[in-house]
C-alpha cells in the first residue's frame, strides 16, 4: 500500500515539474483570459444533471459539477468563470469562433478531437452502466441479461450518437437491438415501463447516479463497463491556457477540492481515485500511459468521432440513408390514407352528426391542431403503456401522424363539402335521395375532386413530418442523417444526399396530384 502511494506521489512530482518547467512558449492565450478577468466556458443546459442544469428550487441559478469545476478553475487562474450556453454538439464550433475559451461539458477524449483541439487531462473518468428493470430481468451480470432475453435479442436504449451508442455498436451489434433515444430520462423511463420491449439502458454512470432516485424501477446490471475521460477542450493554438488548466486540475486533485465537488454530486468513486496523470509535450493528456490498478475494463474506442469527409463518405453511408428513407416512405404511405379517411369521416360527422358528436369532433380538431405533433407522439408512446397498451414505436408513429393530420384533413374536407353548391343537395333531395345517399353519390365525389390540391400538399408535408418520429426512437431518414453527419462530420455532403432523397419522395406525389387534377377536370368538361 505504501509502495503504491509512494509511486503515485513520485509520478505526481515528475509530471507537475514537467508541466511547469516545460515549454515556456507564450501564445498569449492565458494573458488574454487574465486581462479579461473572465474564463468563458461553454456547455449545454439541456444536457441536464449532474453536468450543468438549472437548480430545482431556483431555476435561474445554474448548478452542476461542471459549474463548480469551472468556478474553481477560474479561481485558480485568478479570474471569474462565465457560462455561455450552446447546443451540445455545436460547442466545438463556438470554441473555434472564439465565443468561448473552453468547452467543459462531458466531452470525451477521442483521438480525433486530439487532432483538432487542445485536450486537458481528465477531470473525470466515467464509465457506462447498464440498467435493467428491477425485479424482471436477471441483473447480476451482462451474460445473465443477454441470456434472459433469448431466443430474441435484448433491446437496449441509448442516447443517440453517444459513447454508449458506439460501445454497443462496436461490441454487441449482433447480440443487442440498439434503440435510440433523444434524451437520457426518456431512455430510462422506457425501461421502467417496458415500452416497446426495451429491457435495458446503457447510460453514462454520472447520469445514472444523478437520476437514480427518480427511477426506483431501475437497477444496475453488473458492474460498470467501458471507460472514458471527460476532458476540457481548448483551441489548438491556446497551449498556454491549456497548460494552466492542467496545472489547475492537478492542484484541485491534490487539495481535495475536486473530490469534494464530485462527492457533492455523488460522483466520486474508486475509479476517480485511480488516477495517473500523463501529458505529452503539447500539454495534452496522452491517453495510453494510464496504468495504476488496471481493471479489465477496456478503454472506450474512439470510434465516436471520425472525421471522414468528401464523397467517400457518401459512398459509404448512402446505402444506409436509402434504407432509412424506406422507413420514411412506409410511415408516410401508411399514415396519410388513414388520415384522409379519418378526416373525411370527421368532417361528415361534424357537419351532419348529432349535436354531441359535432361538439366532440370540434374539440378533437382544436386540440390536435393546437398541440405539436411531437407532444402527441410522446403521449402515445409513453402514456399508452401506462394504460396497459404497449405499442411498437413504428405503429405509434403511424398512429400519431394519422391522428394529427386527420384533424387538418377534416377541415379541408369540410371546406370542400361546403363549397358544393346547395343546388346539388336540392337536386339530389328532389330525386328522393336520402342525405346518406346524396352524400355518397353526389356530394363526396365532387368534394373529393375539390380537395385534391390541399390534400396532396399535406401529403408532401407529412413526408417531412415523419422526421419527428425520431423522438420516439423510430430511425427514419432525418435521424439516420444526423447520426452519420455527427459521427463523420460530413454534414454538407450527407445533407445533400438526404435532401435529394426527400425530393425524390415528394416529387412523384406532386406529379400524381397534377395528373389527378387534370383527369378529374377532364371528367367535368368532356
Amino acid at each position: 500500500m505504501q509502495r503504491k502511494l509512494f509511486r503515485l506521489i513520485f509520478i505526481y512530482f515528475v509530471v507537475s515539474c514537467s508541466i511547469s518547467i516545460g515549454w515556456a512558449q507564450s501564445d498569449g492565450s492565458l494573458e488574454r483570459v487574465r486581462q479579461r478577468g473572465k474564463l468563458v466556458w461553454g456547455a449545454d443546459e439541456e444536457g441536464g444533471g449532474p453536468y450543468v442544469y438549472p437548480q430545482t428550487d431556483n431555476p435561474s441559478n445554474l448548478v452542476g459539477f461542471e459549474v463548480d469545476i469551472a468556478a474553481q478553475l477560474a479561481k485558480k487562474l485568478g479570474v471569474q468563470s462565465q457560462f455561455t450556453q450552446g447546443q451540445w454538439d455545436k460547442l466545438p464550433d463556438l470554441l473555434n469562433r472564439g465565443d468561448i475559451d473552453i468547452v467543459l461539458n462531458g466531452y470525451e477524449w477521442t483521438e480525433n478531437r486530439k487532432q483538432r483541439f487542445g485536450l486537458s487531462i481528465p477531470y473525470y473518468i466515467y464509465e457506462l452502466q447498464l440498467l435493467g428493470k428491477r425485479g424482471s430481468t436477471p441483473n447480476e451480470s451482462w451474460d445473465a441479461f443477454l441470456r434472459s432475453a433469448q431466443p430474441q435479442k435484448p433491446r437496449v436504449g441509448v442516447l443517440g450518437g453517444s459513447a454508449a451508442d458506439d460501445f454497443l455498436r462496436t461490441r454487441y451489434a449482433q447480440q443487442i437491438d440498439i434503440v435510440q433515444f433523444e434524451g437520457a430520462s426518456e431512455a430510462m423511463r422506457a425501461v421502467e415501463l417496458g415500452i416497446d420491449g426495451v429491457n435495458g439502458n446503457l447510460q453514462d454512470l454520472p447520469v445514472w447516479t444523478f437520476y437514480q432516485s427518480g427511477f426506483p424501477g431501475l437497477e444496475p446490471v453488473g458492474p460498470p463497463v467501458g471507460r472514458g475521460y471527460y476532458i476540457i477542450m481548448t483551441r489548438k493554438e491556446d497551449a498556454e491556457l491549456l497548460r494552466a488548466l492542467n496545472q489547475a486540475i492537478l492542484e484541485m486533485l491534490h487539495d481535495g477540492s475536486m473530490r469534494s465537488i464530485l462527492e457533492k454530486y455523488g460522483l466520486w468513486n474508486t475509479t476517480q481515485a485511480q488516477r495517473g496523470l500523463e501529458v505529452d509535450s503539447s500539454g495534452s493528456f496522452a491517453n495510453g500511459l494510464f496504468n495504476a490498478a488496471e481493471t479489465t475494463n477496456p478503454v472506450l474506442a474512439s470510434n465516436s468521432f471520425e472525421a471522414l469527409r468528401g464523397w467517400a463518405v457518401v459512398r459509404q453511408r448512402a446505402g444506409l440513408l436509402v434504407q432509412a428513407a424506406g422507413v420514411t416512405v412506409l410511415l408516410a404511405v401508411i399514415a396519410m390514407p388513414l388520415a384522409i379517411l379519418a378526416g373525411m369521416l370527421l368532417s361528415i360527422g361534424r357537419l351532419f352528426g348529432w349535436r354531441w358528436l359535432q361538439f366532440l369532433i370540434r374539440t378533437y380538431i382544436e386540440v390536435i391542431r393546437g398541440t405539436p405533433l411531437v407532444l402527441q407522439l410522446y403521449v402515445i408512446f409513453f402514456l399508452l403503456p401506462e394504460l396497459g397498451l404497449s405499442i411498437h414505436a413504428f405503429w405509434a408513429g403511424v398512429l400519431g401522424l394519422a391522428m394529427n393530420y386527420s384533424a387538418y384533413e377534416a377541415e379541408i374536407y369540410r371546406a370542400g363539402i361546403q363549397a358544393i353548391p346547395k343546388g346539388q343537395w336540392e337536386a339530389a333531395t328532389a330525386l328522393g335521395m336520402s342525405p346518406f345517399l346524396a352524400l355518397q353519390r353526389v356530394i363526396m365525389p365532387q368534394a373529393t375532386r375539390i380537395v385534391i390540391p390541399p390534400v396532396t400538399n399535406d401529403f408532401i408535408a407529412l413526408f417531412k413530418d415523419t422526421a419527428v418520429c425520431s423522438v420516439i426512437t423510430v430511425v427514419e431518414l432525418s435521424k439516420e442523417y444526423s447520426i452519420h453527419a455527427r459521427s463523420t462530420g460530413a454534414i454538407v455532403e450527407l445533407g445533400i444526399v438526404t435532401a435529394v432523397l426527400y425530393l425524390l419522395m415528394s416529387y412523384p406525389l406532386s406529379r400524381l396530384a397534377g395528373y389527378l387534377e387534370r383527369h378529374m377536370s377532364r371528367e367535368t368538361q368532356s
Partner: protein
C-alpha cells in the same frame, strides 16, 4: 278532395323572421293539366312550389298528394310523407343542377337505379328513349359542363321524367336562358303537356302561361289573389296585381 285534383294545398302558412312569406295559400292542382304560378318577385310563388316536395318547410296547413298527407311540423310522419312524395314528384330547377361529375346518360339513370332500385338495363333503355324525346341523345356521353344552358335543362327534364313521376314541378325553368334556348326548352315542355303529364310551373314567360297553361294562379305577398283559366284572366283581369302582370306583356 275532387277526383281530378292531384295535389291539394290547404291554408299553407310560413313565417320567416318577421316576414309572413306564405299567408294562407289554398290551391288545387288538377291531374293531367298544366298549372302556372305567376306573380311579382317575392310573392312566394317559388316558395309554395318548393313546399310541395319539402325543399321548403311550412308552419301550418296541409298538403295532400293522393292519399299522402304532408304536415308542417317536423316529425317522423312528415319524413315518411316526404319520402313518398319525392318518388312521385319530380323537379326541374332554374339553374338545372345536373351532376357535373356524371355524364348526361348517367345523370338520367341515377335516380331510378339508386333511389328506386330498378334494373340497370331497363332503366338505361328507358333513359335513351327519354333523351331522344328531349333531343339530347347525341350527347349521352358528354359531361354537363360541355353543354349549353338549353341543352342542360332538357337533360334535367329527362332526368325528372326518368323517375316516372305523377307530377313535375318547374321552378322558373327558362329564366336563366336566352330566347333561343328558351324556345328549345319550351317546346319540350309543350310536348310533355300534350302527353298529359301533370305540371306545375312557376314562370315569367307570359306567352307560355297564355298558350300552354290550363290554370293560372296569381300570387302576391304570400296569397293567391286571383286564379282561373288563362283566357279569362288575360281578357278580364280583376285584381290590381293581375292587371299589372298581364297588361305589361
Amino acid at each position: 278532395m275532387s277526383d281530378s285534383a292531384m295535389i291539394e294545398l290547404r291554408e299553407i302558412r310560413k313565417r320567416f323572421g318577421s316576414l309572413q312569406v306564405l299567408d294562407g295559400v289554398t290551391m288545387s292542382i288538377a291531374s293531367g293539366q298544366v298549372s302556372v304560378l305567376l306573380g311579382p318577385s317575392g310573392s312566394g310563388k317559388s316558395t309554395i312550389l318548393r313546399t310541395i316536395n319539402g325543399l321548403e318547410s311550412f308552419d301550418s296547413g296541409e298538403i295532400r298528394l293522393g292519399d299522402v298527407v304532408l304536415e308542417g311540423n317536423p316529425s317522423k310522419s312528415r319524413e315518411a310523407a316526404l319520402t313518398a312524395i319525392r318518388r312521385r314528384v319530380g323537379m326541374v330547377f332554374q339553374q338545372f343542377h345536373l351532376f357535373p361529375h356524371r355524364s348526361v346518360l348517367e345523370n338520367v339513370i341515377e335516380g331510378p337505379i339508386y333511389v328506386l332500385g330498378q334494373d340497370r338495363a331497363l332503366v338505361t333503355s328507358r333513359a335513351v328513349e327519354l333523351l331522344r324525346r328531349v333531343g339530347m341523345l347525341e350527347k349521352a356521353d358528354s359531361r354537363p359542363a360541355s353543354l349549353s344552358g338549353g341543352q342542360q335543362q332538357r337533360v334535367a327534364i329527362a332526368r325528372a321524367l326518368a323517375m316516372q313521376p305523377d307530377v313535375i314541378l318547374f321552378d322558373e325553368p327558362t329564366s336563366a336562358l336566352d330566347p333561343e334556348m328558351t324556345a328549345e326548352v319550351t317546346s319540350v315542355m309543350i310536348d310533355l303537356a300534350k302527353s298529359g303529364q301533370t305540371m306545375v310551373v312557376v314562370t315569367h314567360d307570359m306567352s307560355f302561361a297564355r298558350s300552354v297553361a290550363s290554370q293560372l294562379f296569381v300570387l302576391d305577398r304570400g296569397t293567391i289573389v286571383e286564379s282561373g283559366k288563362p283566357d279569362d284572366l288575360f281578357a278580364d283581369p280583376k285584381h290590381e296585381t293581375t292587371r299589372k302582370l298581364l297588361m305589361n306583356r
